[in-house]
């Protein structure tokens, strides 16, 4: 592997990792603050991608479609929290798993009824469609660099909101002691609704920006959910910082293993996870 190719692979790994972070951040946020294990998180990613496809057909505008999809996802998150999830706060994880697995089936069936089972695709918008030559053969599409930067921006935004705002303070307080937050006169239910809605929107946003790069197919959510859980477990359940570091690790390790250790490539991220859990059983940045 010469140096130029090495750099391209590094870029591939970073880009994949950043996208993984975007999906995993919502999962870890919801778990960290609310203690809810949302297995239907992958479905939100799928819904984001399908909504994006639908609205691009309808409006013919990438930005408008992305905004519409994000808003609908946020509302969907709020409705799900208000009607279903809020029944589970006092129950154990097994009940949460049962409900959210059920939601996976419901969303998959809805996807099949609303949009059919054929693979769909969204074109890269014109203003992002160029590419940059990296080596004699390899080009890097501007859109994928855009997505990577957008993920970085969102990561920075999340960091600022959680560490520098009143809402973030409540989120952190809710993470460490929810009863105390309630005693201080904070409406914890409203906080939970906001956090869950934001979590759903982050996953859907990942689906939205993936739509032009991925294939929009039934089952795309479940596939991504597994990688997502690996990231959350490595990073430490509930830690946004952990999810960021872990997502980049998984992205880079997976990318290089695919080429350098093809026989191991299907299990390498799980090996990585096992090794990290042996050293740090709670994950890298668990609180």
């Amino acid at each position: 592997m010469d140096f130029a190719i090495f750099l391209v692979q590094l870029l591939n790994g970073l880009q994949y990792g950043l996208l993984l972070f975007l999906i995993a951040s919502g999962l870890t946020l919801v778990f960290g603050v609310m203690g809810i294990l949302n297995l239907a998180h992958g479905s939100m990613y799928m819904i984001g991608a399908y909504l994006m496809w639908y609205f691009v057909q309808l409006t013919d505008s990438f930005v408008l479609a992305a905004l519409l999809s994000a808003v609908i996802a946020l509302l969907l998150g709020v409705v799900i929290e208000k009607t279903l999830i809020n029944r589970l706060y006092r129950r154990n994880h097994l009940d949460q798993v049962l409900l959210t697995i059920g939601m996976i089936f419901v969303f998959n069936a809805m996807q099949s009824l609303l949009w059919g089972d054929d693979p769909l695709g969204v074109a890269v918008p014109g203003w992002l469609s160029g590419s940059i030559s990296l080596t004699e053969l390899v080009e890097y599409p501007v859109y994928r660099i855009f997505v990577a930067l957008l993920c970085l921006l969102l990561a920075a935004g999340l960091y600022l909101v959680i560490n520098r705002t009143r809402l973030g303070m409540l989120v952190r307080a809710g993470e460490s002691n929810r009863e105390m937050v309630e005693c201080l006169g904070i409406d914890i239910n409203r906080l939970y609704t906001i956090v869950f809605g934001a979590g759903v929107m982050l996953a859907a946003l990942a689906g939205v920006v993936s739509a032009p790069m991925a294939s929009i197919v039934p089952g795309m959510g479940e596939h991504v959910l597994i990688s997502c859980f690996v990231v959350v477990v490595i990073g430490g359940m509930g830690s946004i910082k952990g999810a960021f570091v872990a997502a980049l690790m998984v992205g880079i390790v997976d990318t290089f293993a695919a080429v350098l250790l093809p026989q191991l490539s299907s299990m390498i991220v799980y090996i990585l996870m096992a090794v990290i859990l042996i050293i740090k059983p709670q994950g890298l940045f668990s609180s």
Binding site: D118, P119, G121, V259
Partner: protein, 390 residues
């Protein structure tokens, strides 16, 4: 459902009678066709198209069946191999199906055949391409109206050589059908002096292809041959284009790479060369009539899987017609089926000794979002049926 209850009532009423005069009751009873296709999950669209095609053919030929009605018993396989033996057993033993049509997924096919090989029902496979089904696992009662994995890929080795490609990278998901496709390509390609520089097997169902494609770029082969289907095919073709390899390193594939996926792939698929036993635009009367009738009936364009289901229906209809409605003699039925020629939308085909279609493989190139037939890659291609004792 109503008609089924009626049949049940009728058949039990006739039970006493049929014991004494079986020839008469034979003509009264419906022919039972068990359908084992996926109607939910990833392959739901394929199962649906196959069922539509099958029913359409049998409805069109209803008058040729010598008064025999068709009773369908439909079971959703969910494309889950572990369920296949149980469903197959139930269709054979409880439902007493005369024909069992299915499946889409090769893993399910193996599970089915484990139970049904050399048993009474006639099995007709309308899609699953595992070489084994008409290879080491072939059986007198098992027919296939689709293809073997070997068929669409084997001629592509010669296609690559004809275009002057000497060094090729091959790539596929690491599962049976993918491996069989790459092996078939390699067989004709290396026999003609080509060299496979690297064979890349991607864990199924991973679709992060960027690192593999970057790796391919670093090797600078003359061309790339791949097997991917469905969502994976869309993602691969888009990644290949996004990393700038399209137009620089020609992309060849087994036909599934661009089948039912072109709308999603868009511009990225232009110029891809694939081999397959069908193309939407094949210009013969059978195909034109079929496509018009299918679209009128189901409100959407026909695809490959509809064609394969349709041909399965034609095969059943022809056999019943030739035997004048009496399919009770199993050996005679198999013999008639073996000798039939199907006037398929893909062009006429007949069956090999192993009961796999002997058919043309068309060379198609994606132009303006369509698979254009630019040549016949192999005419009347017969699967070698390695390991079949028929």
């Amino acid at each position: 459902m109503k008609t089924r209850t009626l049949y049940r009532g009728l058949s039990s009423a006739l039970l006493g009678l049929s014991l004494s005069c079986s020839a008469i009751s034979q003509a009264e009873e419906p022919i039972k066709v068990g359908i084992m296709l996926p109607f939910s999950g990833v392959y739901a669209a394929l199962g649906d198209a196959g069922r539509n095609g099958l029913k359409m053919a049998l409805a069109e030929h209803a008058s040729d069946l010598h008064g025999r009605e068709i009773e369908y018993i439909e079971v959703d396989t969910e494309a889950r191999p572990e369920r296949a033996p149980e469903i197959a057993t139930s269709l054979m033993s409880q439902q007493q199906a005369d024909f069992i049509v299915g499946p889409v997924h090769s893993g399910v096919a193996m599970g089915m055949l484990k139970v049904l090989r050399n048993k009474k029902p006639i099995v007709i496979i309308p899609n699953a391409g595992a070489n084994a089904a008409t290879g080491p696992w072939c059986a007198g009662n098992v027919f296939r109206t689709s293809f073997s994995a070997w068929q669409p890929s084997y001629p592509m080795g010669q296609v690559a050589l004809d275009r002057g490609y000497k060094r090729v990278v091959t790539m596929s998901w690491n599962y049976g059908f993918g491996k069989e496709s790459l092996e078939a390509f390699e067989e004709s390609f290396t026999a003609g002096g080509g060299e496979v520089v690297k064979q890349i097997m991607v864990p199924f169902p991973k679709t992060e292809f960027q690192s593999y494609i970057t790796d391919i770029a670093s090797m600078k082969p003359d061309a790339v041959f791949v097997f991917f289907a469905g969502g994976g095919a869309v993602k691969f073709v888009k990644d290949y284009d996004a990393l700038g390899l399209r137009g620089k390193i020609p992309l060849l594939g087994s036909g599934f790479l661009t089948e039912g996926t072109l709308a999603a792939q868009g511009e990225a698929a232009e110029g891809i060369l694939t081999g397959l036993h069908y193309a939407d635009e094949i210009s013969n009367d059978a195909n034109r009539n079929f496509r018009t009738a299918y679209e009128t009936r189901f409100g959407k364009p026909a695809d490959l899987y509809a064609v394969q289901g349709y041909d399965t229906g034609l095969l059943i209809a022809q056999a019943v017609q030739q035997l004048k409605g009496d399919i009770s003699d199993r050996d005679a039925l198999i013999k008639v089926m073996e000798q039939s020629t199907i006037k398929s939308p893909r062009g006429d085909f007949h069956f090999s000794k192993a009961h796999n279609p002997v058919q043309n493989i068309y060379l198609r190139e994606v132009q303006d979002g369509e698979n254009r037939v630019i040549d016949i890659a192999a005419a009347g291609l017969e699967d070698p049926a390695r390991g079949c004792k028929l």
